[in-house]
């Protein structure tokens, strides 16, 4: 079904200053809306099936409740002084030129309603303070533009007051869910986590078969029986990873990398059918309840399996939820071994082994790759790694430098805490939003084009399932190869020389004959 109508030419627009102020295109994106969740998907999450009759009253009441629960939300709605620092910081604004995609304008969609019903001046003199009734037109604007925010929080880095647009868009989505106007993509997926255990809807039998297939692949490649254990009680580590790692590429190649690293570490580990998903879309729709329910599965799996540690795979927002909120949502984790970070990121795990000299690499295996790294927004601006400031930037890069001879960073204003979203985050990774996804990727594609031109960069690594899926769709549209997006642990996997493997024998000049003997 045709979901894209646009004259946007990614190849022509894919060159230039990544953060160049666009030409304004008022209302250009007003028609961009995700599919509305069906009654079945809504009700599975406890939301009304469709837009309720007294939606206006209910929405205002819900906003009132959120303001009571979150002091931060009220501050964000009160504090803006319209200084303009955020205007050109959103990748969707840079890519679309639609002024409603300026963070301040996006915030104002909620702020004007807040002022009308929750401030004295807005109640008495709405026309003086930019307050507005919550009409059907305003609700339509909300549905459109709060689904053109990937909650990446780049704007909040530049806001002198630290106003977090992500929190505002989460609140707006929460309100819309509560009146029966949910988004199909996110809500259907949350329902699948509740009913099957993961975003994909991958059942235990299929998961088991998939893992067995990967074990065969690794054995064929290395000559070693590297395992991907499932539901093994008494393992030391529970690995929780996005279900995309069991399905998509280059995600699966990253999973192979984790398995090899864990194998080489000698520490026992397991995946879990119950917690076969790291992602937590409860955050995207602003639902504390869904977020908690999803997080509690991980706690339960860890307890049922009796593990000592929890390690997270490459998933951006999962790591934000895990790093920043897991203890609040599902803690305390006093049953885990406190000698290790709770939870730990797979990059921290791998980096630690590299530091201890326990991993041997043949970097020449990645010599055809000239690599850059895309900082994923939730990792960059919502988490940390390694217990050191900036660890979430340094550790993935240190790993990539350890496994690849050619590494080049993109322009400073497009990486680390200023990183640009891939264009598909925050619940926007759905086909009907391809137009806004394509345009939102433009700043990142320009930054990549620059390093491709200047340093001959061929590949970009990431540690987020959404980034990987989004890039494999949009890269070809910007004239890059689809497989130029890679997992960090895919690069690790390419170069890792496992003890007793075919690669080790080759490297040490023993060859196949010696290996057979061994």
């Amino acid at each position: 079904m045709a979901v894209e109508q646009s004259n946007f030419d990614p190849v022509a627009r894919g060159r230039g200053d990544p953060v160049e102020m666009p030409t304004l295109a008022c209302g250009a994106m007003v028609g961009s809306k995700p599919y509305v969740a069906s009654p079945v998907h809504q009700q599975a999450l406890g939301f009304p099936g469709e837009l309720v009759e007294d939606w206006q009253e209910k929405a205002i009441a819900r906003l009132g409740q959120l303001l009571k629960e979150s002091r931060a939300l009220r501050v964000y709605l009160d504090a803006c002084v319209r200084c303009g620092a955020c205007t050109d910081k959103c990748h969707y604004f840079l890519g679309t030129g639609d002024p409603n995609n300026m963070p301040v304008a996006r915030q104002n969609l909620l702020r004007k309603v807040y002022r009308r019903y929750f401030t004295l001046s807005g109640r008495l003199f709405p026309w003086l303070v930019g307050a507005q009734d919550l009409t059907k037109d305003v609700l339509d604007e909300w549905y459109s533009y709060f689904h053109q925010c990937s909650q990446c929080r780049r704007c909040s880095v530049f806001c002198p007051y630290g106003i977090d647009t992500a929190e505002i868009s989460m609140a707006a989505r929460d309100i819309m869910d509560s009146i029966g106007l949910g988004q199909k993509y996110s809500n259907e997926i949350i329902g699948k986590v509740f009913s099957v255990g993961n975003n994909l809807g991958l059942n235990p039998k299929a998961l088991k078969a998939t893992l067995a297939g990967l074990e065969d692949d690794i054995e064929e490649d290395t000559g070693l029986p590297v395992r991907l254990p499932l539901d093994e009680k008494g393992a030391d580590i529970l690995l929780v990873t996005p279900s995309a790692d069991f399905f998509a590429s280059p995600h699966m190649e990253g999973l192979i990398g984790y398995a090899k690293v864990l194998h080489q570490s000698g520490i026992s580990w397991t995946l879990s059918t119950q917690a076969s998903e790291a992602a937590n879309f409860g955050m995207f729709v602003g639902s504390q309840e869904a977020m908690q329910k999803i997080a509690l599965r991980i706690r339960k799996a860890a307890q049922d399996l009796g593990v000592k540690r929890i390690v997270f795979g490459e998933c951006g927002h999962a790591w934000r939820v895990a790093y920043s909120f897991l203890d609040t949502l599902a803690g305390p984790f006093d049953f885990l071994d406190r000698n290790y970070p709770v939870p730990q990121h797979i990059c921290e795990f791998t980096y630690d082994l590299i530091e201890k000299g326990q991993l041997r690499f043949d970097k020449s295996k990645n010599d055809e790759v000239r690599l850059t790294f895309h900082d994923s927004c939730n990792v960059a601006r919502g988490s940390g790694m390694g217990g050191m400031p900036g660890g979430q930037f340094e550790i993935p890069r240190a790993i990539l430098r350890a496994v690849c001879n050619h590494f080049f960073d993109m322009a400073p204003e497009t990486i680390r805490e200023s990183t640009l979203c891939c264009g598909g985050g925050g619940g926007l990774l759905t086909d009907e939003l391809m137009d806004v996804r394509l345009k939102g990727a433009m700043p990142r594609m320009r930054a990549l084009r620059d390093v491709a031109d200047e340093h001959g960069v061929t590949h970009m690594a990431a540690i987020c399932a959404i980034c990987k899926a989004q890039f494999s769709k949009v890269l070809p549209r910007y004239g890059f190869e689809m497989d130029s997006i890679v997992s960090v642990h895919q690069m690790v996997s390419n170069a890792l020389v496992l003890t007793g493997s075919r690669q080790e024998a080759e490297l040490d000049g023993k060859g196949d004959a010696a290996l057979a003997e061994a």
């Binding site: 809807g201 996005p242 998509a248 995600h251 992602a279 399932a465």
Partner: protein
């Protein structure tokens, strides 16, 4: 909700063209869905679609692209079975577009 109309019967589909009831699927319907996607079904397309259906019957989910690639490499050899060749057959991606034609639900999540 709209549907695919064939020989006087209507097979309902969702907003994106995925069949609502996979039990209604048949080869003629697959050809019709493919046509809507601007795809002319060849023997190679059918190999993929048939494999997806067999896999789905066994596992109630579509196979990972990597699994599909492996299977098609076995069938067609390395050149015709790699990921690029699959994308040439199904430009919007073998997972999603081929699933639609095979009458299977859309894979969801970060894929």
């Amino acid at each position: 909700m709209s549907g695919y109309e064939m020989n006087g019967t209507i097979a309902e589909h969702d907003e994106e063209g995925y069949l609502k009831d996979i039990g209604q699927w048949n080869a003629d319907l697959a050809n019709l869905i493919a046509k809507n996607e601007n795809i002319d079904m060849t023997a190679d397309h059918w190999e993929v679609v048939n494999f997806l259906r067999d896999y789905y019957e066994e596992y109630q989910i579509a196979p990972a692209v990597r699994i599909l690639v492996k299977e098609m490499t076995k069938k067609f050899g390395k050149e015709k079975g790699d990921q690029k060749a699959l994308y040439a057959l199904f430009p919007y991606g073998p997972a999603k577009q081929a699933c639609k034609i095979a009458g299977l639900p859309k894979p969801t999540g970060c894929v």
